[in-house]
């Protein structure tokens, strides 16, 4: 088994924003009164390095454990083994619960389906300001202003602040989710198949929005996707996940040009024109 330690460690010199070392997640299910317990492995021995200002795409077929990995990275689930280092600090060090709570300000997750990720009873403004309310930041008026700012930044009209999610279109709902994620000024944004539920036109517009935001907000992205086209257009580095492990990780250009692992090759076999898309982007 080829060493999964990513080559990215060597090519980019400065300290990565996030380092994931040997991360594993296993679910233990109990049957009956604790008699038979069997484990379900979501992912195993994952090593990743995510560099500031770059986009790491994690690709692989569905069911390879990508979503669970995303949740662990966003601290929504606890891994059963391994470490996550954020800005040089070990997140799961003993007694650092407070540090982990503060982490929520730095890492945010955008879900695949914005309709279920937004409470249908809340107004747009309430949705965007909820993170601020939870973290007890700002006064009511300050929060309202911030909501309007954010809505503008994601391209939503400010007057729809009182509308409820169902009154928006699918693409607009995802914008709303992005605006909410930006409320706490995170450094890292994890996009868990954030484009999959949108139609192609919306996918393009949201991708463009994300690219713009990356510049204006100095964001780093982890983009989890099974859509290789979008990855080709958007990613700087790519990690391939197969059978619950990271099998290959390289800068995008290299990966598209010379996929090494057989699973990666199989993945790309379905899309022969990937390299040309990537080349077009560089041009």
């Amino acid at each position: 088994m080829r060493d999964a330690r990513p080559a990215v460690f060597e090519t980019v010199k400065d300290e990565p924003l996030v380092r994931v070392v040997g991360l594993s997640k296993q679910y233990v299910q109990r049957r009956g009164l604790g008699r038979r317990a069997f484990g379900l492995v979501a992912f195993e021995d994952v090593h990743l390095a995510i560099h500031r200002g770059r986009t790491l795409a994690i690709v692989g077929e569905s069911g390879a454990g990508k979503s669970t990995l995303a949740k662990c990275l966003a601290l929504l689930e606890k891994p059963t083994a391994g470490e996550i280092w954020f800005e040089g600090k070990n997140l799961f060090a003993r007694g650092d619960r407070r540090g982990r709570l503060a982490m929520h300000r730095h890492v945010q997750l955008i879900f695949q389906d914005p309709t279920t990720a937004l409470n249908p009873r809340f107004t747009a403004e309430e949705i965007i300001t909820e993170p601020l309310v939870i973290q007890k930041m700002g006064t009511k008026d300050a929060r309202r202003l911030r909501a309007q700012e954010l809505m503008e930044q994601v391209g939503l009209p400010a007057r729809s602040a009182a509308k409820r999610p169902l009154e928006f279109s699918g693409g607009q709902r995802q914008r709303l989710a992005i605006a909410r994620a930006l409320a706490l000024e995170p450094k890292l944004l994890i996009l868990d198949e954030a484009l999959s539920s949108l139609d192609l036109v919306n996918q393009q517009t949201i991708l463009k929005l994300l690219a713009d935001l990356r510049e204006t907000h100095s964001l780093t992205y982890i983009h989890i996707s099974h859509d290789l086209r979008a990855v080709a257009e958007f990613a700087d580095d790519v990690a391939v996940m197969s059978e619950r492990r990271i099998v290959e990780q390289k800068p995008a250009a290299e990966l598209f040009a010379h996929p090494e692992h057989p699973d990666t090759q199989a993945l790309f076999a379905a899309m022969p024109s990937l390299e040309s898309i990537y080349q077009r982007r560089l041009a």
């Binding site: 997750l109 389906d113 990720a117 409470n119 009873r121 909820e130 993170p131 939870i134």
Partner: protein, 343 residues
């Protein structure tokens, strides 16, 4: 939509009914304990507009009643005296909601006239007044007990559903025990365990407490179900991602999902509990004389001669129908809305 109209119709009906009961003192011509020993089992007073001489009066009036010499125990109208109906009269004092005193009554007649719009019982007490005052007991008991049951159901169901694990196991096993006991029998048994002759307000509170404390099991299970599915929603997970505390998640996101079930349960439990109080009082196990409760009003019907000769003693029971209609319609409409929202 039809369910919205249904809901509003039911709410208006209920509001009117409850207003009548709340301001019983105002709407009732007499107090609930006022006896007229000369008029036991008097039939409902007829309102007339035309007198014996054929003259039409704009203001309705009533005749006095005198004993019917041909029929002992029956009455016949005494057309010699007219008693016009007066509105907004000053009568016996009463307290609104136990706080504000007033002497204003909606209707009344003066002098020797009697206004028994629903007849009288064996002690000559006006049944209409007793119905209105009785509502204060029976309806309030039902409302309080239903609120208690649902409140307990929300607390227990939410805790069990949200935290799961051993808390869930423990609470749900407990609810099973309560559900394994037939509700009405249990109510009676608990009532049996309590002293028979205690002060009225104590009986009332005890009744409310017992009904409320026994009936939490079903609401708790329903609420637990809603909480279980609500806490898995992605927006709850998202809020966790902002560092939300359990309290925030519960109160902002999870519990609002239960409102539909909560209101439906309340609407279904109130008539059930009112009926239970009525049953207990009917059998003499609830609030006793001279306090009027709808049950005590109906209990005289257990005697054969009352049942067959004095039809107006049935009226309190008939008047319960609009109340139940209101609550059941409301529950129906709420259930319809719940179903259409969750689809």
């Amino acid at each position: 939509m039809k369910s919205r109209r249904k809901l509003w119709g039911a709410l208006i009906l209920l509001a009117v009914f409850h207003a009548l009961i709340l301001f019983a003192g105002f709407f009732a011509p007499y107090g609930f304990a006022v006896q007229d020993r000369e008029m036991p089992f008097a039939p409902p007073t007829r309102l007339h507009f035309t007198d014996a001489r054929g003259k039409v009066h704009l203001r309705p009036f009533v005749y006095g009643l005198k004993d019917d010499p041909a029929n002992p125990g029956a009455y016949v109208a005494d057309t010699s005296e007219l008693y016009p109906l007066r509105f907004f009269v000053r009568g016996a004092p009463y307290k609104v909601a136990g706080l504000i005193e007033s002497r204003l009554h909606l209707v009344g007649v003066e002098g020797d006239g009697r206004l028994f719009l629903m007849g009288t019982d064996g002690y000559g007490r006006d049944q209409l007044s007793r119905f209105l005052y009785g509502g204060q007991i029976s309806l309030l008991a039902g409302l309080l007990a239903a609120a208690l049951s649902v409140f307990l159901g929300v607390v227990i169901g939410a805790l069990a559903g949200f935290y799961g694990g051993w808390i869930d196991e423990l609470l749900m096993r407990g609810s099973e025990i309560f559900l394994a006991l037939p509700w009405l029998y249990l109510l009676f048994a608990v009532r049996a365990a309590l002293p028979l002759h205690i002060a009225e307000w104590q009986v009332f509170l005890l009744l409310v407490a017992v009904m409320g404390l026994i009936g939490w099991a079903r609401p708790a299970r329903m609420i637990r179900g809603v909480v279980l599915s609500a806490k898995e929603r992605k927006f709850v997970l998202a809020a966790r991602g902002f560092g939300a505390s359990d309290a925030h998640l519960l109160f902002q996101h999870v519990l609002p999902q239960t409102y539909g079930v909560v209101f439906t349960q309340i609407a279904l439990l109130i008539p059930q509990y009112v009926l239970a109080e009525v049953t207990l009082s009917f059998l003499g196990l609830g609030v006793g004389e001279p306090m009027a409760s709808w049950g005590t009003l109906l209990s005289s019907l257990q005697q054969y001669y009352v049942l067959s000769s004095y039809w107006w003693m049935f009226l309190p029971a008939l008047l319960l129908i609009p109340l139940f209609l209101g609550y059941y319609t409301m529950a129906d409409a709420l259930q319809e809305r719940l179903k259409s929202v969750s689809l």
